[in-house]
């Protein structure tokens, strides 16, 4: 990490979101303001229904804000775009395409030469360590491998914001730890700005430069904590535990005592 201030890649100003539920309207997001500098790793954490996924989907362009604006380098987000790559919890790989074809999908949408597509794809297949599985279909892969493909698929397409919606939530603990390590390596290597939604405090403190705690009813950002621990982080160190306690306290402070 450099100390020079980076320009903000993402700016969110007064974004709200209301959903119609039958005849009622539900306020999913109260006005949210947020700026994220280029290259930062941000974790959004909060209980279910706090609007963290909604916020992510607005950034991805899958949902439109009811009011307010979200912009990338000052340019308003009007829909999904290849500059932002979403990694879904349930992978959303194309099951009829091989690993190689999934990763090259974005490249194939732009009129690039076959050589260039093949070269870039191979590079990203290699980056996620799936060379031996390049010709397999998603149905033949484990959950961890599928999520590697999903990450490579958006990075190969030059996404400069990686949006991850509880990406490791469906994986077993060992695979999750390994993917967390690999994600940090990829992030360090590519410098891709990452917004990572999770409900695990430990995961947030392990990964992020900055942890945003959100709370529900309506969804809003409650606190914004910098994590200045050096990487790789030791989850058993006192500093780590202090931060984990602090964020857990913020996370639960707004909950009514049960």
């Amino acid at each position: 990490m450099s100390n020079a201030p980076q320009p903000n890649i993402l700016t969110i100003r007064g974004v709200t979101k209301r959903f119609a539920v039958g005849d009622d309207e539900v306020e999913a997001l109260a006005p949210v303001d947020l700026s994220i500098p280029q290259g930062e790793f941000v974790c959004l954490i909060g209980a279910s229904g706090c609007g963290k996924s909604t916020l992510l989907r607005i950034i991805a362009g899958f949902e439109e804000p009811t009011t307010g604006s979200a912009s990338i380098y000052g340019k308003a987000i009007t829909g999904p775009g290849s500059d932002r790559g979403m990694v879904f919890q349930d992978y959303a790989l194309f099951p009829w395409m091989t690993v190689h074809e999934n990763i090259s999908f974005g490249l194939r949408q732009r009129r690039l030469s076959a050589e260039e597509i093949a070269r870039t794809t191979d590079e990203f297949v290699k980056m996620v360590g799936l060379e031996r599985f390049a010709e397999r279909y998603p149905g033949q892969l484990s959950g961890g491998m599928k999520q590697r493909v999903a990450i490579a698929r958006v990075l190969a397409n030059n996404a400069n914001i990686l949006l991850m919606d509880e990406p490791f939530g469906a994986l077993d603990a060992l695979t999750r730890e390994q993917l967390q390590r690999e994600l940090l390596q990829i992030w360090a290597r590519t410098g891709v700005t990452t917004i990572f939604v999770t409900h695990s405090v430990e995961e947030a403190v392990l990964l992020a430069d900055r942890v945003l705690v959100m709370s529900a009813g309506p969804g809003r950002i409650d606190s914004d904590t910098r994590i200045d621990l050096a990487r790789p982080r030791d989850v058993s160190s006192p500093e780590f535990n202090a931060l984990r306690r602090d964020i857990t306290r913020r996370l639960t402070s707004h909950l009514a005592p049960s």
């Binding site: 899958f62 999904p80 932002r84 879904f88 349930d90 099951p95 009829w96 949408q109 698929r153 397409n157």
Partner: protein
């Protein structure tokens, strides 16, 4: 990376046990195939034996014995036994029926697949057409027979139309269902990767709905062969359906049963071809493989 190291050591271990395990698996697989063959062939053989005994015991003159049907089948295929209008004519009848079955079937696929995809994706089209389709679908194909003869006259076109009607709805409905049940995340994933419009149809809608489309094609293909007898009731001189109808008129039950068996065999063989094609195209789909 640790995965690779772990994988390498696991690999070495695996090669030692692999040979033995593979032979065992192959042996079990062969036994399984043999048993499936024995049961699959044994059961119809048993049915034929029962048929033969039943005819012998009841001494009926209305139903021919399997032997008599076999003689008829031989004469129908090669001639030289009865030397009548049906001797040695099997190929021409099969060929005519195949033309009508596949004329109707491919027409149904040609219209049903694109229409089903559009109805599945475009809400206005669904609102426009869905009630009408639901209304027309329960009408039995046989009920269309008089009208189809008025529309198309006596001849093969009426037969093709009837086969088309029978094949159309399963293709249309399965395609609609297939398109509507595509995971919406796949559309989101494709659009964030820069895919939109017509490319989305070709690259996402079409392949993602292919398993359902093939299910529809397979059901429709079965119906098409079922309907050939009805279709060829429309007064065509040749075709397997007309052979069955002629057999009825002439009270030649051996000819009727021969025609039935040939239709069954044609339907069976062509169904296997469809299964092979679909297994090939859908090798990615873990639920689809037979």
């Amino acid at each position: 990376m640790t995965t690779q190291r772990a994988a390498a050591s696991a690999n070495a271990e695996r090669t030692e046990q692999e040979g033995e395990a593979v032979t065992r698996r192959h042996k079990r697989h062969r036994l399984e195939t043999l048993r499936a063959l024995a049961l699959g062939i044994g059961f119809p053989v048993l049915l034929v034996l029962l048929w033969d005994r039943a005819v012998a015991i009841t001494d009926t003159r209305l139903i021919p014995s399997p032997y008599q049907v076999a003689v008829m089948m031989y004469d129908f295929s090669f001639g030289g036994v009865y030397d009548d209008a049906f001797s040695g004519t099997i190929l021409i009848h099969i060929w005519k029926s195949v033309q009508r079955v596949y004329g109707g079937f491919f027409l149904a696929a040609l219209i049903g697949i694109p229409l089903g995809m559009m109805i599945g994706r475009i809400r206005i089209l669904r609102q426009l057409l869905d009630p009408t389709i639901s209304l027309l679908r329960p009408i039995p194909v046989t009920a269309w027979l008089p009208l189809s003869m008025i529309f198309f006259g006596l001849g093969p076109n009426a037969a093709i139309f009837l086969v088309f009607l029978g094949a159309f709805y399963p293709i249309l409905l399965n395609t609609m269902f297939g398109v509507r049940s595509i995971d919406p995340r796949l559309f989101e994933a494709a659009s964030m990767l820069g895919c939109s419009g017509a490319a989305m149809f070709r690259q996402i809608v079409l392949p993602a709905s292919l398993p359902a489309v093939f299910n529809g094609l397979r059901i429709a293909h079965g119906f098409a062969w079922i309907l050939i007898v009805v279709g060829e009731m429309t007064g065509v001189p040749t075709g397997l359906g007309s052979v069955v109808m002629d057999g009825r008129t002439l009270s030649r039950t051996d000819l009727v049963i021969t025609g039935m068996i040939v239709i069954g065999a044609c339907g069976f063989v062509t169904d296997r071809i469809i299964v092979v094609i679909s297994n090939r195209l859908l090798s990615w789909s873990p639920q689809h493989l037979e």
